[in-house]
């Protein structure tokens, strides 16, 4: 796999970008300017394509802004109930062990509504890949606090900023999952920088490799920009992500594959 290097001009033209669009995307997304979720979607689809998994993959998508992706991804897919994607994917993978099954959930979907489902799917060692798009806010409903909202972050339900005394503490779900037996691979990436995008893409690949090797549940948490829900301008999104989110949710592998390569 070629990974984009950022310390020198690319040695080849950005042909992967041109290829990815027509073959797996059926149209443009309808999300806000500056949103990180389409970036995450793109590297996910590119990875499936590069690994030649397109015609054996089932996508299980939760409820959030990214739910709209079911209209534009050219994959067999379902939009399942809020929070239940790891459960739904469990049934799918058990019935179709030869397929590649991945879930896509936001922080509200996975960490608020569906905490039990992700924890138990991981502990059972279900051989599925779970993608968490974490922007620390309910984006789809306009900027309310989720379980991953960082301390001090202003949301429409924590107007003076998240205060632990009033609103409790954020949950580092990937760290919790990484500590469970039954898990093949856990990593946390971010798409606020080019370097972050490249590193996250390697993590996604590792996660799918882990599923193919039958190592158990793989989870990639991806920090994504939500300028609308953060009440900042689109260009300020990546900086806000770097300053506010990454300090609480540092990038890196939380559980490497037994013989993995990414880092």
């Amino acid at each position: 796999m070629d990974v984009v290097t950022t310390d020198r001009p690319p040695g080849q033209e950005a042909s992967k970008v041109a290829e990815a669009y027509p073959s797996l995307l059926l149209g443009d997304h309808s999300l806000c300017p500056g949103c990180g979720e389409p970036v995450a979607l793109r590297i996910l689809l590119e990875t499936l394509q590069e690994m030649d998994l397109v015609q054996k993959t089932i996508a299980v998508v939760g409820h959030g802004c990214y739910g709209n992706f079911v209209q534009i991804i050219d994959l067999d897919c379902t939009l399942c109930l809020h929070g239940r994607a790891p459960a739904s994917a469990t049934g799918m993978k058990r019935m179709r062990p030869g397929s590649v099954v991945f879930t896509m959930q936001g922080d509200g979907d996975m960490v608020n509504e569906g905490l039990a489902e992700i924890v138990h799917a991981a502990a059972r060692g279900e051989n599925i890949t779970c993608i968490l798009l974490n922007n620390g806010v309910f984006g789809d409903t306009g900027g309310q606090q989720t379980a991953t909202t960082v301390i001090g972050q202003r949301t429409k339900t924590s107007l003076e900023g998240r205060d632990p005394a009033l609103h409790g503490h954020p949950i580092q779900i990937a760290d919790i999952i990484a500590g469970l037996d039954g898990v093949g691979y856990v990593a946390r990436g971010a798409v606020g920088t080019v370097r972050g995008v490249a590193r996250t893409k390697k993590m996604i690949r590792e996660a799918f490799e882990s599923q193919l090797a039958g190592e158990g549940l793989s989870l990639v948490e991806i920090l994504t920009m939500c300028p609308t829900g953060w009440f900042v301008t689109a260009p300020e999104g990546p900086d806000y992500l770097g300053e506010s989110m990454e300090s609480v949710y540092p990038m890196g592998e939380l559980r490497a594959r037994p013989n993995g390569e990414a880092g």
Binding site: T78, R96, H120
Partner: protein
């Protein structure tokens, strides 16, 4: 399914074991459950038998998780089921509505503690315009047939279907034959997700909103939900099942469902032999309720006696359809064991006989 040359052998089986065997006979390959009396035996049987037949059974962390796993399994085209008693089925309501609205066929075994879940299975507690086809067997042999029929009907209409069982059906050992039903073949599940159509421009989507994909737009929620409503209407017209005895000249018709219907049927037969002009009507599908058949069965009757072990749930459907609403009397009632896990003393032939005779003495 083709006709079988010889009858299946008679076996002494506990109800839940017989139902598990019938599910596997119906090619059910996935099951989930959370222990809850009197459903627990079905989960135990499934966890024993399902892996042996190449399927998968998950002892889940919650009924919510279990029913959503079942939805996932069914979305791949496999026959899949879950179950609980009414208390656990209450937790599944969102997913039952979802399966109805995104057209995923699943079967739910409600091994109920009594007859207080009639509203739950016929009205439902999810959102949206949906109905759940529900079969209420009177005993274990009928439950074995109904189990097979429910998988067939779920696939035929792409809907969730419910078996309304109870403690007597779950926990009684009876002689039963695991006889495969001769059911018509169904079309292939071309809607099922297997991942194979990715990147072709024809990839599939299962979604309650049915908006489809950008290159192949679906009907969208408004039209999709209207089409579903039409489907439920057509099911209501064609899937009513019931059993009626001695109703042609009956002055009194007793109406009951499930195990209670087996008790009332026995008492009505007895009274008939003693010369009473009494008949019996048992809805087998609780939804769709066999309304026209009930109207026919109660035509000219002076008394319609509804026996159900709850505060009066099915009686609302009886009131909608009985020929003469003024003839309707409730002769059942809430009757629970002290444990709350099973029927109380009212489910007893002498007790039922006493109530029917008391009603016969009243001026109709």
């Amino acid at each position: 399914m083709s006709a079988v040359a010889q009858p299946a052998k008679l076996e002494l089986l506990e109800g839940t074991t017989a139902i598990a065997r019938a599910a596997i006979l119906s090619d059910c390959r996935f099951f989930t459950g959370y222990p809850m009396s009197p459903f627990t035996g079905l989960l135990e049987s499934m966890s024993d038998l399902m892996p042996k037949s190449g399927g998968s059974c998950v002892n889940v962390e919650s009924e919510i998780e279990g029913v959503n796993m079942t939805l996932g399994a069914a979305a791949t085209g496999a026959r899949a089921a879950t179950g609980s008693c009414g208390q656990g089925v209450a937790l599944m309501q969102e997913a039952i509505a979802e399966a109805s609205l995104n057209e995923t066929p699943i079967v739910i075994f409600n091994m109920a503690r009594n007859q207080q879940d009639y509203f739950q299975c016929t009205r439902g507690g999810g959102w949206g315009d949906y109905r759940t086809l529900t079969l209420a067997p009177k005993d274990v042999p009928e439950a074995v047939e109904h189990t097979q029929l429910l998988f067939h009907l779920a696939d035929k209409y792409r809907v969730p279907t419910i078996l309304y069982g109870d403690p007597l059906i779950a926990q009684t050992r009876v002689g039963v034959r695991l006889q495969p039903l001769d059911l018509p073949a169904l079309p292939p599940k071309d809607w099922a997700l297997d991942g194979s159509l990715g990147g072709t421009g024809r990839s599939r989507q299962i979604w309650t909103w049915a908006l489809g994909k950008r290159n192949a737009p679906g009907p969208g929620p408004d039209r999709h939900w209207q089409e579903l409503a039409e489907k439920f209407e057509s099911m209501a017209a064609s899937e009513q099942r019931w059993e009626a005895q001695h109703v042609d000249d009956a002055e009194t018709v007793v109406v009951a469902f499930g195990s209670a219907g087996k008790f009332t049927e026995y008492v009505v037969d007895e009274l008939r032999e003693e010369g009473h002009q009494i008949g019996h009507f048992r809805p087998i599908t609780l939804w769709p309720f066999p309304g026209e058949a009930l109207a026919e069965a109660t035509r000219g009757a002076r008394r319609v006696l509804v026996f159900e072990l709850n505060a009066g749930q099915m009686i609302e459907d009886v009131r909608q359809f009985a020929d003469d609403r003024k003839a309707i009397r409730a002769i059942g009632g809430i009757s629970s064991a002290d444990s709350g896990l099973s029927f109380g003393p009212l489910l007893d032939a002498p007790e039922i006989r006493g109530r029917i005779i008391a009603a016969l003495k009243e001026e109709a």
